[in-house]
């Protein structure tokens, strides 16, 4: 299950969503707003989503991984709006009977979320505000 959320995220809510008596492993990922970016001090990040497409894309990502790793149950939330340093921007939880599938599913989910979700962040630093270019695109444009 997945959500695009305007209020604070909860890692506990994510863990609870994938926990059951048969899951001996729960792997989680928390994406947190950093205080610096490329040497500049970050004051806050504004996240914007094409919300209905982001919800749909996230649901597809999680369902695809759950189909590839049938023992895994996944949950993810991505926050939108204005976030301060230290706040959670994204959480992923993967529950499974054993650790290998839980860790693998969590890793695949966050990588796909970052690459595919129609969500954009604007960095507010000492140097002003600008939309962040995703690393994958920067690399492919450079290469």
């Amino acid at each position: 299950m997945s959500r695009i959320v305007e209020g604070p995220l909860s890692l506990e809510r994510a863990v609870a969503a994938v926990s059951d008596d048969h899951h001996g492993a729960v792997a989680t990922f928390s994406g947190v707003v950093r205080a610096s970016s490329h040497g500049k001090r970050v004051h806050r990040l504004d996240y914007e989503a094409y919300a209905p497409m982001a919800e749909r894309t996230m649901a597809t990502i999680l369902a695809t991984i759950e189909r590839e790793l049938p023992s895994v149950k996944l949950y993810a939330e991505h926050r939108i709006g204005s976030l301060g340093v230290g706040e959670l921007a994204v959480v992923v939880a993967a529950g499974a009977p054993h650790r290998r599938d839980a860790l693998l599913a969590c890793d695949r989910a966050i990588e796909a979320i970052k690459a595919e979700l129609p969500i954009w962040k604007r960095e507010h630093t000492d140097g002003g505000a600008e939309w962040v270019r995703c690393e994958v695109h920067t690399k492919s444009n450079d290469g």
Partner: protein, 81 residues
Amino acid sequence: MTCTVLLFAAARDRAGSDSLTVELPSGATASELVSACVAAAPGLSSLAPSLRVAMDQALVGHDALVRDGAELALLPPVSGG
């Protein structure tokens, strides 16, 4: 056909609006949709090579035919997480 195109993030800022309305011939492609948007909002031109087109909330290739009545959006490179 008359198409309304949603704009997000840097695309919205460059165009100065969160949507554009453009006129396209039937059979137009996603690539032609981007060109029509740049003509309507020249501020988009430097961003245009990196824009992707979403039709009914799914990414489509530049050769995809624009369907009359579809929900259209221009997406800059994503940066979530």
